[in-house]
Symmetry: C2
């Protein structure tokens, strides 16, 4: 069997490289950083985008020389890769980390919803001030949630909220009936009509031209007064100033963002101290061992590639995500 | 039908009295506060302990005159009432609010567990400092929890954690097999042997002589290094100094207390700023509408009392809680 050259686009920050021991003897593993990627790209059969926060692929792909036939990103979202028209137009197959983040993000989202329902931020602020102030909080069971995104992450969020007694409506690109968990998936066109009934609105959609900026002033103005919003999708799903205004006006009682248009969120961003807004640093899916799970998943797909079998988690470059039929 | 005199021991703070409109025409409702209770007690057929944080019953019951035949407390715990030997020795039936708090407390506890797993306190502290610092957090599914307390609150907490993928062991006073949700309930004597395996230890037990101080240095020393502890039972379940020491030594990675030996927690208590400790003001069960639910429950039991039928939620004065067979 011929040796396959795998190029790894380096780790964010000081993180160790992925554990690819399983490829020993079958792959030559090269490591690139943002600077060396353009030079090393022509040598690669496969590209593992380990640092999925980097824009280096978009900048380097259009350069001279041969290009890898397979690009795998260690992320669920592929919006950054699809921002490179030359990669989209190429024959290269793109695969993603679909599956690794579902359960962690669902837990994180359920935790945020419960934290807002029970006003943990208020309690911990009062704790800092050594003040005992009893309040009444929200009973979560029986409240209504809309989850935007009917991929595996949105579905797992929906199932987790269902398990907590929440009534859940799932919104996807296409509407469809007969869903085993949710009965019916609503088409995105139905979102506006659903928003007024929701106590919780969760964004877990892929970032595509259609979903960019979908949470804007018009969307927030349709939400129930006192509703709460959670974004674990991508920062660009939300028009940031419109969200701040919806919180300031009291239309929204609270919001939690784990993702931002610019990451890291700049120190001077007004989001850091917007009242009612909870900020976390894009970590909802990243539980202990996540890097190993991502490396394992890449190696599983490598086994298929090496054997000439179809890859799993193949991204539809037009849709901007992995359609259901391609799931493993 | 003769008119029954219901005496209501007043509301905590400035809260409105319970809505007892349903009793109109069938009951004469008198209101007492801590000072007038002793004087009004002989006139009462039934006593509704609406302010369940008061010690007035213990002080007033031993006084002169006739005593009500039924005492209902708007709380799940009856430790305060059972601190009155004369009430315990009397023929008066005690009933409690069993059932009202199950779901809210289970949600609150699940929220605390998720908040600790996902390090929300850390994220919101960093948010205050406008610092972006990604961390890896705990995947809750697959972790192990022990819930101490096999009454309806403990069971509902256990079921909620099960729904989140946690492996749950329930500990009750008596061990028993064949439980529909948990397979097996462990006897309290087994707790020491179970503690080393738990990532989460939740106290939701009734406060009895046997359970007072059960979470002491010996118990904390048996817990897995890095375990986390939640108390939604009663403050006196925990030896406060031992908990602080277990957090300081790093044996426990975190703890959350909603109940305290002294409530309100005094402003100079060291608990307010013990690192790793989350404090909330005894509110885990108190969701919007809880007072109406408590009043409804009392009225439901009043209907039985007026009809000469057996009451539900009758407390076993020796056990210190409502045994399962008495549940509605």
């Amino acid at each position: 069997m011929s040796v396959i050259t795998v190029l790894v686009l380096g780790s964010p920050g000081d993180e160790p490289p992925p554990k690819l021991d399983r490829l020993a003897g079958r792959a030559r593993v090269l490591h690139a950083d943002e600077k060396s990627l353009a030079e090393l790209l022509p040598a690669a059969d496969a590209l593992l985008v380990w640092d999925f926060t980097s824009d280096a692929v978009r900048r380097s792909w259009p350069g001279p020389g041969r290009r890898p036939g397979w690009v795998h990103t260690a992320s669920a979202g592929v919006d950054r890769l699809l921002g490179c028209p030359e990669l989209v137009a190429s024959k290269a197959v793109i695969t993603n980390a679909r599956g690794v983040f579902d359960r962690p993000i669902a837990e994180y989202t359920a935790g945020l919803v419960l934290a807002m329902a029970k006003d943990f931020p208020g309690s911990w602020k009062l704790q800092n001030e050594r003040r005992w102030r009893h309040r009444e909080t929200i009973r979560l069971a029986g409240t209504h949630a809309i989850v935007v995104g009917s991929g595996p992450i949105g579905r797992e969020i929906g199932r987790t909220l269902l398990a907590l007694g929440v009534e859940v409506e799932l919104v996807g690109r296409r509407g469809r009936a007969g869903d085993p968990d949710f009965g019916r998936i609503h088409p995105s066109a139905a979102l506006g009509g659903l928003l007024p009934s929701a106590d919780w609105v969760v964004c877990a959609a892929p970032l595509t031209p259609e979903t960019t900026g979908m949470f804007d002033a018009a969307a927030f103005s349709r939400m129930k007064p006192g509703a709460r919003f959670v974004n674990v999708g991508r920062g660009a799903h939300v028009v940031q100033d419109d969200l701040v205004a919806a919180l300031a006006s009291g239309r929204l009682a609270g919001a939690a963002l784990d993702v931002f248009a610019e990451e890291p969120l700049p120190p001077d961003s007004p989001l850091w101290d917007t009242p009612g807004l909870l900020v976390s640093p894009h970590m909802s899916g990243d539980t202990l061992g996540w890097r190993d799970a991502l490396a394992e998943q890449f190696c599983d797909n490598f086994d298929r590639w090496a054997a000439g079998e179809p890859l799993f988690n193949v991204v539809d470059k037009q849709l901007g995500y992995v359609p259901d039929r391609s799931a493993p």
